[in-house]
């Protein structure tokens, strides 16, 4: 089950961005080295290493360009999330398609017995601990000085009191989110060694408090950063991410948004970015891998990496770039079994985090008839399945899900509250029944239907008086041709009170949808456009990381 999900996540990642490093930074070439192309076939002389990687590694492009000149090895990247990447390797999806993988950590992947025969050689290239970036004003407000003495307990207390509102990536997808979850669970359980299931139970009350402060969630660290910058002044005061990302972010943030990096004194989880050769690679690529790995470990290259990316150099002999603190932290052990790791993720999704309010605005116009509607039903139906051990997909316990079906106007609005525990199953089945009952006819009134979605959220918020992660997913296969216009919607959105205005719309491109319209909606509302033309299942699943 997880394997399927990994494959889909991967497909989406590939559709979004496949690029060669050298192609990104093309410059006039005097004597072109062996062919640089994104075609998978390498030339005889220059090795091309096909690497499935975490998008965090995009900042290595200049180093890899230099590596190409020095070693003749061209790195060809495809991007995906750390845990989705682990699924892809375990399930064999990377066999023969990639020569290597490169993620912040292989720890989750190592927990899968199936991975043992898949990974041949691992070379850690650099390190960065997962840390809290706290805005100076918040730091002052909490009287935390320079942040050097802050513990996870301090962070939880500040979160529970409402003084610390932070963004963190979805731990079921992202290594930074997962590392933070492991660290905080270790700290609160008092575990003095690797976490057990009992430790997680013990830490649950404190973890719930800690996560009341999580105001932003994201399937990717890139979007998290944007959302932080965009958030209304003071509404989000901190970000969980790698130390290197936080420090690099400061280079682009205005003075009042600058982040102080807090590495809690009771321990951190550190990523060591192992460049990893897959067993399925061939002799020639193994050799290319060896040359690249040796190059990356050279002292001058390590120095360059640290200065460029603000990660810490690996090994001895090279000092970290200026600004990286050198006092040590306890390294918290990562869970040693998949059962503990997945149990922790499942608790996070269904019990620990703030619940979500999720509104789907689904186009069921005449053009959706046939395979398109069938795809939609399948993609939505998958979100109601129970076969999802680490919570990447299914509607979570405590989630409020509203389905708005529209064509020329809104046809139906159905809201489901998923209960906790065993009772969840029945409600999930009921959501699925509503999905399967959708039928297609009529025109396409995208903007009017979106306005209705915001009004639904307004009513729900007023009735419940609660505090949830709230978002709208918009799936349309055509251009808006009835009802409100783009201009009407802008003016409507401009007039919304803060509680609704901050709700992002995640549009999904499908069929003959008007990309410009959908992108405009994403930009206006602080959402993100997803491409469902390759795999609608994949797009619906990927958006779960943002809900």
């Amino acid at each position: 089950m997880m394997r399927k999900s990994g494959a889909r996540g991967l497909a989406v990642g590939l559709a979004v961005l496949v690029a060669t490093v050298t192609a990104c930074t093309s410059s006039p070439k005097a004597d072109p080295p062996p062919k640089q192309s994104d075609a998978p076939a390498p030339t005889a002389q220059a090795g091309v290493l096909r690497v499935l990687a975490g998008s965090e590694l995009q900042d290595m492009a200049p180093v890899l360009e230099e590596a190409q000149k020095a070693t003749g090895v061209t790195v060809q990247f495809a991007w995906t999330g750390s845990l989705d990447g682990a699924d892809a390797v375990s399930s064999g999806k990377t066999d023969g398609k990639y020569d290597a993988i490169w993620f912040p950590s292989n720890q989750y992947l190592h927990l899968d017995d199936g991975s043992r025969s898949k990974l041949l050689s691992e070379t850690p290239v650099m390190t960065s601990p997962v840390a809290f970036g706290v805005r100076s004003s918040v730091l002052a407000d909490l009287a935390w000085g320079d942040g050097a003495k802050v513990t996870w307990g301090n962070l939880a207390e500040a979160a529970a009191s409402g003084k610390l509102r932070y963004g963190m990536a979805d731990p079921s997808r992202s290594n930074s989110g997962f590392s933070a979850l492991v660290a905080v669970a270790s700290a609160f359980s008092g575990a003095s060694a690797a976490l057990t299931g009992a430790d997680v139970q013990k830490a649950t009350p404190s973890l719930k408090q800690f996560f009341t402060g999580q105001k932003l969630t994201s399937g990717s660290s890139g979007w998290l950063t944007q959302a932080y910058s965009r958030a209304e002044q003071g509404s989000v005061g901190a970000l969980v991410n790698y130390e290197s990302v936080l420090l690099s972010l400061n280079k682009t943030l205005p003075a009042d948004q600058q982040l102080t990096v807090v590495r809690p004194t009771d321990g951190v989880v550190t990523a060591n970015y192992p460049l990893t050769l897959l067993s399925s690679s061939s002799e020639r690529e193994r050799e290319a891998f060896g040359r690249l790995a040796a190059y990356l470990l050279k002292d001058d290259v390590q120095k360059r990496i640290s200065e460029l990316t603000l990660r810490r150099p690996i090994g001895a002999g090279v000092a970290p770039a200026a600004g990286l603190p050198t006092d040590r932290r306890h390294e918290l052990p990562f869970p040693g079994t998949r059962a503990v790791a997945d149990g922790l993720l499942s608790s996070y999704q269904n019990e620990l985090r703030r619940p979500s309010r999720t509104v789907y605005v689904l186009d069921t116009s005449g053009s959706m008839a046939g395979p398109r509607l069938a795809s939609l039903k399948s993609a939505m139906g998958r979100l109601t399945g129970a076969d999802d051990t680490r919570g990447v997909r299914r509607f979570r316990d405590r989630e409020e899900v509203t389905l708005i079906s529209f064509a020329s106007k809104v046809k139906s609005t159905k809201t489901h509250a998923v209960p906790s525990g065993a009772a969840a199953q029945q409600e999930l089945a009921s959501i699925n029944a509503d999905v399967q009952a959708l039928s297609s006819d009529g025109g396409t009134a995208v903007y009017s239907s979106l306005q209705e979605a915001y009004r639904v959220i307004q009513r729900q918020q007023a009735a419940a008086g609660d505090d949830r992660f709230t978002s709208i997913v918009l799936m349309s296969d055509g251009e808006s041709n009835e009802g409100a216009t783009d201009k009407d919607f802008r003016s409507f959105h401009g007039g919304l009170p803060a509680a609704q205005k901050s709700v992002p719309v995640f549009p999904i491109l499908f069929g003959d949808a008007a990309k410009g319209q959908l992108q405009g909606i994403a930009d206006l509302t602080g959402g993100k456009l997803f491409d469902g033309t390759g795999s609608l299942d994949g797009a619906f699943e990927e958006i779960r990381g943002y809900q």
């Binding site: 076939a41 390498p42 005889a44 002389q45 064999g92 066999d95 023969g96 292989n106 720890q107 190592h110 927990l111 043992r116 025969s117 990974l119 041949l120 050689s121 691992e122 070379t123 850690p124 390190t127 601990p129 575990a191 003095s192 060694a193 690797a194 976490l195 004194t265 009771d266 321990g267 550190t270 060591n272 192992p274 050769l277 067993s279 399925s280 061939s282 002799e283 020639r284 193994r286 050799e287 891998f289 060896g290 040796a294 810490r312 150099p313 690996i314 090994g315 001895a316 002999g317 050198t326 006092d327 040590r328 932290r329 306890h330 390294e331 918290l332 052990p333 990562f334 869970p335 040693g336």
Partner: protein, 362 residues
């Protein structure tokens, strides 16, 4: 195995043409009699094989060696097209030899005892609490294994130890090791603990496995997820992260001394009973066997191995000579006998496997 064949078949189909193109220019720019030798090595020997002098000496002998580093216990599954395998200890080499029906005597060109890396402040805390001591005359540190076993058994925590403790010492006292199912040093750790827990007797039967596996399981599972090869925990440690006490090969520390790259506050502790890791090369083809012979018998290569911190079997002085010519902030013990470091024997492969199963699965 089936899967491995499938993958190989696919690669052969895809790569066949490119392969043919590759082979030719390769041969042209080298001396005609040079042969390419492909092998899998333990990650701790990668720098040795990348050394320019090593390459030059091998080239003089007509060998161009291409290596991929892998966990010692992962090698057996990845031997297609390989001329040799060079794991960090004898048991995985024996397993490969048995599997490939190789009957010639094992060639063990060099060895290295297992040691523990710590920061100086950590070593002082250990000393204050009876877990380590420093010989005043030689400056060599030893780690008190029986007391360590007690600490593991009782779940002793750093904050229960007396002394001035730096912030990175938290949680249980334990050694950070590699995964014993993939890596030699992790497997050697299991072997060492089993010997000590069995009353300083090698475990030789199922009863011994039963008797010791509880402690082994505790020592391994407390670490949570384990790194797969020996250079990883060591690299993490040198990057000022990772564990507070990291099990490593002496060669890894000695190499830093020789290269004058050892961090100022690094301390190497010799377990008072340790395991010697015999780096064992298995020739799988004629060329692989030729390389094995060179590694063992070539004086120049032995000297170079010592430069990378290994102790050549055939030259007991080489290691000490290298250290003499280099300066380091910490003390190594060229003469292990004089430092009173005892050696624990390694159980036979079958028993070792059962101990590893017990350590990882309980």
């Amino acid at each position: 195995m089936k899967r491995a064949f499938g993958v190989l078949a696919a690669l052969l189909l895809l790569g066949g043409v490119a392969f043919a193109l590759l082979k030719e220019p390769r041969g042209d720019d080298k001396e005609p009699e040079t042969v390419t030798v492909n092998g899998l090595i333990g990650s701790e020997k990668r720098e040795f094989f990348e050394d320019g002098d090593v390459k030059a000496e091998l080239a003089r002998q007509g060998l161009a060696v291409k290596v991929v580093s892998a966990g010692s216990w992962q090698m057996g599954d990845n031997l297609d097209n390989m001329d040799f395998a060079f794991p960090a200890s004898q048991p995985p080499a024996d397993a490969i030899r048995a599997n490939k029906k190789i009957t010639e005597t094992a060639i063990r060109p060099f060895y290295s005892p297992l040691v523990i890396m710590a920061h100086a402040q950590t070593a002082r805390v250990l000393a204050d609490n009876g877990l380590a001591s420093q010989d005043q005359a030689s400056g060599v540190w030893t780690f008190t294994m029986d007391e360590y076993l007690n600490a593991v058994r009782t779940g002793r925590k750093w904050d229960q130890l007396k002394g001035d403790k730096p912030g990175d010492l938290a949680g249980d006292v334990y050694l950070t090791t590699t995964d014993p199912t993939t890596s030699s040093s992790g497997a050697m750790y299991v072997a060492l603990l089993s010997f000590l827990e069995n009353g300083h007797q090698p475990v030789a039967d199922a009863a011994g496995v039963e008797k010791t596996k509880g402690l082994l399981h505790t020592a391994i599972t407390k670490q949570g997820a384990l790194k797969k090869s020996t250079d990883e925990p060591f690299a993490d440690f040198l990057s000022n992260g990772g564990g507070a006490l990291v099990l490593a090969y002496e060669s890894q520390a000695a190499e830093l001394v020789v290269k004058q790259k050892a961090p100022e506050d690094l301390v190497v502790l010799y377990p008072d009973t340790t395991v010697y890791s015999d780096h064992t090369v298995v020739g799988l083809t004629g060329n692989g066997r030729k390389l094995a012979g060179q590694l063992n018998g070539n004086e120049k290569l032995r000297q170079l191995a010592a430069k990378y911190g290994f102790r050549p079997q055939g030259d007991t002085n080489a290691f000490g000579q290298q250290l003499k010519s280099a300066s380091g902030s910490f003390k190594l013990a060229p003469n292990l006998g004089a430092a009173k470091v005892k050696q624990a024997p390694i159980p036979v492969p079958d028993i070792l496997q059962k101990l590893i199963d017990g350590a990882t699965k309980g």
